[in-house]
Symmetry: C2
Subunit: 277 residues, 2 copies
Amino acid sequence: MTATIKHSHLIGSHNHPDIKRIRRLRDRAMREQTGQYYVEGLRFVANAFQSQAPVDMLVVCPQQLDHPYAERIIHHYQRVGVPVLEVTPEILNGISAVDDPQGIGAVVRQRWESLTRVTPGDELCWVALQIVRSAGNLGTILRTSEAIGGAGVIVLDEATDPYDPACVRATMGAIFRQRFIRTSIEKFRRWKQRHNYQLIGTSPSATTDYQDVHYHTPTIILMGEERKGLPQSLQALCDTVVQIPMVGESDSLNLAVATGVMLYEVFNQRRKKETSH
Amino acid sequence: MTATIKHSHLIGSHNHPDIKRIRRLRDRAMREQTGQYYVEGLRFVANAFQSQAPVDMLVVCPQQLDHPYAERIIHHYQRVGVPVLEVTPEILNGISAVDDPQGIGAVVRQRWESLTRVTPGDELCWVALQIVRSAGNLGTILRTSEAIGGAGVIVLDEATDPYDPACVRATMGAIFRQRFIRTSIEKFRRWKQRHNYQLIGTSPSATTDYQDVHYHTPTIILMGEERKGLPQSLQALCDTVVQIPMVGESDSLNLAVATGVMLYEVFNQRRKKETSH
């Protein structure tokens, strides 16, 4: 099957301005400037569609598409006036960061919220992160946060970008449904003082076992950088700093695993509370 | 500081037979043929040294070494007759898969055990894995297994290789201390029938909550492939198949996170049992 696309002309040049712009979305600077990011593959485009993510442009290689659902998605976006670029396989591969872009990609608008507008609601928890070196770890954290009903991430530095292509891929679609806030440590500190959030940090040198804490709703789990962990200045902001026990020669867990263990503890406590009512 | 190495001559050619052999250890075929693998950086070489891993050869670039501990390690291996190759920065970078090899690497012998010699002891648990697509996931699983006191992994297919360089790096040193077994599903099935191991599989479609199972010692946690999960044929071998609950749009967790959540449940149950005695 080859998808049919109405009112479109085939782009076969790497120098087409839209193609050049999309390729440059791999760079953080271009993502910042445009407020956009690029997702690829039918799974991700379908996820964007189902999650009503703000899609600005669709990129399609009709001869590589062989799923009727793709055609439905394309026709939907055409109907609502989203530009659909039809490209050759060479062009699609040229803008793609994966081996098999499956004939479809989308330019999506980033969604950021302001911390000042976030107030405690019925959300289970947030994850606050200082620096995350690995984009894959960040994406995996978002995937786990969605799985346990977490709201999203509060990023406390400029370098960490959830819209990095490697992060987006690792989210497996959670990128469209998790919430994102970027702020400074100082603003975070002041905001935390005004609101009734429980802030829990983690550190291998803490003396409180992570299972000995009662996690209120909403909790914020604050995780430090890979290897370095949470600096003292951030530990000082926390209501409690807990440790995840380890034995043997281990001195740390992978950041995405440690966050997963914390998030499942928060989730499990909530589940037990619900069944005991 | 520049490390001093006795009785050594500087290698400056990429075509030196030892250098060519080490470079080829990136390939699975060469690792199989030689039964060796290559680790790099002071952290890993120091870990190999402390764990008494079977080091066959050391590769050293004296001008890039600036830690007295490195010199102690080098002198130890020289004393016990392990060859120490002294190389130029260009040669070390040429065999390295990381940005900063820190002036030192080691060729280490792989350690595999035979399943038939494994009998239930006082180990807390094993992880059995069918196919693991991501070497980073496999390494992260080994890192978590060490952290909770797990014995190691039982690999049920030929493709999955814990000695892949990306896996080794992700273990953060657990590669030297975890135990490794490779076997077939049929041999695993027969071995499991003879011994008193509890085999627990995971599947999103299982009806038993992973927290509602009492994990005996020793338990084997059986994890399926990324995305695909455990096939029916493997679920059929399990004493129980459990699910890790998820909410929202999530249909799966990252494999290393899911394994981490399972391993911490096994570990937490053991910890509670110990404190209640």
